[in-house]
Amino acid sequence: MMDTPAARLRPGRADVQASTSTIGAALPFLALLLLGVTFPLFGGGYWGVIATRACVYWVLVSGLNLVVGFAGQIAIGWVALLTLGAYTTSVLAAGNVMPELPPYLALAIAAVAGAAFGLIIGLPALRLRTFYFAITTVGFATIVTQVALAWQSVTGGGVGVPGPIFPEPFSSQWGFYYFCFSLAVICTWMTANVAASRFGRALTAIRDAEVAAEACGIAKPALLATVFLFSGAVAAMAGGLFAALQSYITPDAFTLDLSILFFIAILIGGRGSILGPLLATILLTALPEFAAPLVAWSTFLYAALLLVIVLAAPGGIAEILDFKNRRPLESNRAIIPRPDLVGRLLSAPVDAGALTLEQVALSFGGVHAIDGLDLEIRRGQVHGLIGPNGSGKTTALNVISGYYVQERGAVKLNGAALPLFARHRRAHMRIARTFQTPRVVGSASVLENVMIGGTIDGKGTFVESLLSLPRHRRDEAKLRDTAMLALAAVGLERLARVRVDRLQHSELRFTEIARALMLHPAFLLLDEPAAGLSADEIGRLAALLAAIAKTGTGVLLVEHHADLIFDICQHVTVLNLGRVLATGTPAEIRSHREVVHAYLGG
């Protein structure tokens, strides 16, 4: 295990750089930790309340950050969970409905209720479009407050209920501050662990490249449900703390403005960051306190800030602080793949097997996109699929990977029909693909993007990642090593730590191939990988693909570059108007009269 090929491959200097950048990334958090611990020394009385409030808000925002910042779900009404948690804790601790419970137990029960409720509020996200989901969360927030107002026998209605009082040593102002501060620190640590795990990367993939996420085998429903559970639990816990801090709660305390503050903190902080939203939460909590007249205008200011951020700096604080990615990249960089490394990466046993399409047909409206297509892709071979535009090449590829469902015929892997619809199941069957337009997470590094490809090979659970347990760390180390090896194989290891949206088009194509290789694919489907590449790059791509096929992977190559096809394919199928025009070895195709006439020209 220790002696992985990548560990040997990676030069020492990159190791040093990696570790210094980790320390660099942790530095702001350590500074905030120090500030938080020593805060009672220089902040008196009222500032203690503000600091406690910032901690309580952050407990909620840290969880919401996974939903909004990472998964990209526009959940505006998260104050509903704060309300729920505040009332559950207070009512149970006050003994309104049953004998009084100790505040810690009440808080724990609130967290469980919050998790369940987070799931209920979040689940519509799986079915609804963005704006619809945003509206439903606002609706939830309104409803919860109204119920709190109406259910007088339990919540005290408009009169309210006293908040819980935590026993010594947390009953004093600073005692309670340290209690909230510790929870805030734990939440920061846990969400940072998730962010740096395969789950965090999968969430950003769902946000920015959902189609690619599915192709990598990421099951969106299960992952989002997990995140909603976690986010709901910490939000309700924040509610319990909020009630204790307020010492008395009424429905008026839970306005939509508060929800907006949480939501905006994440966007101002920057999506996909932990530090940004943390700083933004502190900033937004403290800002109105600096100038009394601002208090009335605070929501207006938050909204104005949001508008400015969306229009001028969609990356938020996190992007402004990202100095590393502003250094210019080498301008004359070349992609030099190392096909010799492919064998080390794909050490799958070579067993004979095939991916077959039998009489597959699919039409859109009245147009037969593919019409009775037969195709057999054998392992260890490069199979070229060519044809004029609109001949059904990409449609065939989309049927194989489950994005389209054929009307007739079957797609079979080693004789067994592939399930319809279940797109993310393809990855588990070791069928990987790339896209005509590269689908990547622009704000993540090249390395992180490639690591997304190996998501399904992690063994640890979400909870193990949350707590950074050994299995999570082993997963991460292995994924990183494999990804570095894959990057070396496609010739991009020098760009591993660069943000993907800074790359050139050709580099994105090779990034996608590296990501697909992470699956150890039995079959690799490539949709025009040579489009936009220079002649040199196409030559290198050819050598890389030949090396991949040599390890036993079956490659389906959809292409327009006839030279590339005839250079490396063992078998070529020519499509025209959704039907097979000709199929055979490159030599046969090159001399096929109809093909030459219809497509190759000359």
């Binding site: 519509p124 945003a134 909204a303 949001l306 508008l307």
Partner: protein, 285 residues
């Protein structure tokens, strides 16, 4: 009691339907849902009350100025919150930019106008009857808008251009239609319709800043249930929503009526996310 449920329900339903049409008119022109739809309704009421009751203008002048205010806000929405983010529609930034604008206007109104509901003037000096103007005004406004839009879309050149843009922006641009100008005009039109909804329903809803989020939510329900961009669906769904809400109000009480409306909304949406009259779109890969 039934009579009261029906007249109040239909009147409120007409306001919801008008806000739904406001959403739709903006959506057709830009493929964007804007959080400012409810804000426009709120503003119609507040501006009407400001011009007529507070500043003492004649009803007709106040009415026209309130509509003009709506048009201006529609145009501002397009320029500030929609046009800059249209390039990257798939990132859904419009949700955030329109939300930000809506919140700013709402907060500004709360501070500069009032945080309490203010009375809206009676528009016609006639005695209160069983079927009062506060009920028939929203219905009249809704009827006028529906007929007006039908005439506009079917019988005028500019209306057909609107339809062309809604159908296929690229093709419309290729035909030489001034896409940008038409989008701006659509937003101004949406602004007028939204303000009209708030003005006609002013006596019922009062001039109150918190009407903005309320109308944003309840005005979207007809859009979601009737299908995006489908005005007739919005009217039917809006009327049903109004009746259902009023009936629930009388039968189980106001707060649980909102819970009931919300529950039905979620259940219907989860069952058919494209609305009762909408068709599913194939996703492009």
């Amino acid at each position: 009691m039934v009579e009261s449920i029906v007249s109040t329900g239909l009147a409120i339903g007409c306001i919801y339907a008008l806000i739904g049409i406001t959403y739709n008119v903006m959506f057709s022109a830009s493929r964007v849902f804007s959080f400012t739809a409810g804000t426009l309704g709120m503003l119609g009421g507040v501006l009407g009350s400001l011009f007529i009751a507070r500043m003492g203008m004649p009803v007709a002048v106040g009415f026209l100025l309130a509509l003009a205010g709506g048009a201006v806000l529609g145009i501002v929405t397009e320029i500030v919150a929609v046009r800059p983010v249209l390039k990257s529609l798939d990132q859904h930034l419009y949700v955030l930019s329109t939300l930000a604008l809506a919140l700013m206007i709402q907060q500004f109104t709360a501070i500069e106008w009032s945080t309490e509901p203010q009375p809206f003037p009676r528009l016609f000096d006639i005695a209160r009857g069983g079927f009062d103007q506060q009920y028939w005004l929203p219905m009249l406004a809704c009827a006028v808008v529906i007929v007006g839009l039908e005439l506009l879309y079917r019988h005028t050149l500019i209306g057909r251009a609107f339809l062309a843009i809604a159908e296929d922006t690229y093709a419309a641009r290729a035909l030489g239609l001034p896409e940008r100008g038409l989008r701006l005009a659509s937003f101004a039109l949406a602004g007028v319709i939204g303000a009209l909804a708030g003005f006609a329903g002013g006596e019922m809803l009062l001039a109150f800043f918190a009407n903005a989020p309320m109308l944003t939510f309840y005005g979207f329900v007809p859009v979601a249930l009737g299908g995006m961009g489908n005005n007739r669906g919005a009217v039917v769904a809006g009327l049903l929503l109004g009746l259902f809400q009023q009936a629930a109000n009388f039968l189980v009480g106001g707060i649980f009526a909102s819970v009931a409306v919300f529950t039905v909304f979620i259940i219907v949406l989860m069952a058919c996310p494209e609305g009762l009259a909408g068709a599913a779109l194939q996703r492009r890969v």
